[in-house]
Amino acid sequence: MVLSARGLTKVFGAFAAVKDVDLDVHHARVHALIGPNGAGKTTVFNLLTKFLQPSAGRITLLGTDITNTAPDKVARMGLVRSFQISAVFPHLTVLDNVRVALQRPNSLATQFWLPMSSLGRLNQRAEELLSAVGLLDARNTMAADLSYGRKRVLEIATTLALDPKVLLLDEPMAGMGQEDIGTVSGIIRNVARERAVLMVEHNLSVVADICHHVTVLQRGEILAEGDYATVSQDPRVRTAYMGTEEA
Amino acid sequence: MTMIFGIPLQAFLGQLLIGLINGSFYALLSLGLAVIFGLLRVINFAHGAQYMLGAFVALLLLQYFGISYWLALVIAPIVVGLVGAVIERTMLSRLYKLDPLYGLLFTFGLALAIEGTFRYLYGAAGQPYSVPAALAGGTNLGFMFLPIYRGWVVVISLVACIGTWLLIEKTKLGSYLRAATENPVLVQAFGVNVPMLLTLTYGLGAGLAAFAGVLAAPVYQVSPLMGTNLIIVVFAVVVVGGMGSIMGAIVTGYMLGIAEGLTKVFYPEASNIVIFVIMAIVLLIRPAGLFGRDA
């Protein structure tokens, strides 16, 4: 178990967006967090990554209590997230986007006395990552000029660049075309071999396909937990979330 | 005699009142700034110049047309508002799609040009404008002599502040304005004439500044420089209040006016920086400002 939360709660004013949630994310597993809109999934992400401070509860990452740690510190400890609304560096090239992420783990971030060419040694790794997500052809394109879907793919590549121990993906497939969904599913399955992945996703076929464990959230509380087959048969989950749709 | 912090209660009350009077000017000016910033995302560096313009228009109306203070209080803001609207329509509006810094730089240039022109035409020393007869003189409040005109300033600026606040927070027009701040293209796609709205807003903001200017004319020397340094203090007021918030601007204006007034008694040397000091402290504790919405 690499990341765990106990009694996680977040109150906005009088409104409790997350209530007493316990969560365990394990190594080499894809853990899905699903639930109706507004259930509090993004908020849980924000809490885990410390973009929001929990109102109550404790969070442990790799055995360390991070309940009061700053978000950038958490990221450096190996917990990295993607955003629900796409987050790239729009006026850097695709390659640079990935290299920026590579700089930190390679201790090439604070050297203001080194030339830019010193970043050249990151190129190989960056290109590997880009080709893994099928963006190699766009390496010199400005990220702003990518279409929405390709921006999301780029974001995943950047996230992977950090070689995180835990990966938090907020709706990685949103807005993606069918073919990209296939690619990205493959990528996620691959990366999860050596790390823990926690993802929010509404695309149930993806969830069914790649997730080992599913937590269903509703109104800030855990409604059901288990593997997809179990969860998807739960009548409460069906009414609250899945409707009559077949996976 | 009752003493507060080593000074007589009476003097203390007097200074409190004076602080409130200055606060009225801060509130009016920071309100205008907040309106323009809130809706156009433009830091209106020309606000001080527009305040000065208001005073000058009143003065010139009197000199050339014999128009009295009371009429000037209406006409000058309209004139300056119109000038503002024209500037917005012809120039400022081209900058919205750019970084807000350009708006700041543009209005900075505008301020220099306006102040420079008036200094060139009317000199730096400034000119007198007398208190309207109906408000001349003063009353003895027991603890201090209060010029009636200053009392008037407090009352009328409160009225103006509350009116503006109601307009923006409580009307449909206000919600268009606020939405247009965030995503003008979309609001326009919904069928609202956004460019027109923005022009009106800038006119309103400039008009408010001019209104403060007319109010100030009988109190201060009408000089091209009257807004130059004031504007920086008002910026600080707005930062302390929290930039997005209209109510914040008003309340902070009065509060800081009072804070400054009291400093003038206890430690006058610091009275010009006390607002900046408060600003720094507030930022350290609450980066969004006292009433700011964003964290």
């Binding site: 809109n37 075309g177 | 606020r178 609202v192």
Partner: protein
């Protein structure tokens, strides 16, 4: 069927990049049209150009017999077109209800506030909280809901189901059907093929800034091969 919207030879640019290369399409009164296409082929751009948001454009756009090329953006809605953008466009400084009430009503045929709240109970519950404090899905609902009030005749939706829970997607599908019954014309862009096939009357397939095919829903089975090639479905 009388065409409500006719687009001929539409070209559009972002600065120097030429994105639409002569889009042709026709949307009949009361029809529900879905544009399919891969990421980046210009679907969003097509919608934005029709709406008049992208103004570097050439070609012809006729709406209800009226030439829309010269109409300023803020008049487009008044001609009867409503737009729900890809990125939703919820206003943070406005409450949910203010967001709902924001777009001016352009015709009397819109839904009432009560009908809307019935359709989207989440919104009723959070009506007085700031718009962007809603979850992603709630924001999408709000974005659709607020256009329903205005009484436009043509609704343009850019990926309305993105990020929505399956129950909500179903509900939106039902809403769209209801709207269609009321005579509303809908033009939408969708990646969710399953959803699209359930609601649409007719499809346009887009590639490289052009419409490469168009077919009614009935021909879907026989077109699957082509769709598979172009879309990877």
């Amino acid at each position: 069927m009388k065409p409500l919207l006719e687009v001929r030879g539409l070209n559009a640019w972002y600065g120097e990049s030429h994105v639409l290369h002569g889009v042709d399409m026709t949307v009949g009164e009361g029809e529900m049209i879905t544009i399919l296409g891969r990421n980046g082929v210009g679907k969003t751009t097509t919608l934005r150009t029709i709406m008049g948001i992208v103004r570097e454009r050439k070609g012809q756009i006729m709406f209800d017999g009226r030439d829309m090329m010269g109409v300023p953006l803020h008049r487009t809605a008044h001609s009867g077109i409503g737009f729900v953008p890809e990125e939703r466009g919820i206003f943070a400084t406005l409450t949910v209800e203010e967001n709902l009430l924001l777009p001016p009503v352009v015709a009397g045929s819109g839904m009432s506030l009560d009908e809307i709240y019935e359709l989207f109970p989440n919104l009723l519950e959070r009506r007085s909280s700031p718009g962007t404090k809603l979850s992603g899905g709630e924001q999408q609902m709000l974005a659709i809901a607020r256009i329903l009030r205005t009484g436009v005749r043509l609704l343009i939706l850019d990926e309305p189901t993105e990020g929505l829970a399956p129950v909500i997607v179903q509900r939106i599908g039902e809403v769209l059907k209801t709207l269609k019954e009321r005579g509303m014309t809908v033009l939408l862009v969708e990646q969710n093929f399953r959803f699209a096939s359930r609601v649409a009357d007719r499809f346009y397939l887009m590639d490289h800034g052009q419409m490469v095919a168009d077919f009614p829903v009935g021909e879907l089975p026989e077109r699957m091969d082509m769709l598979h090639k172009v879309l990877g479905v």
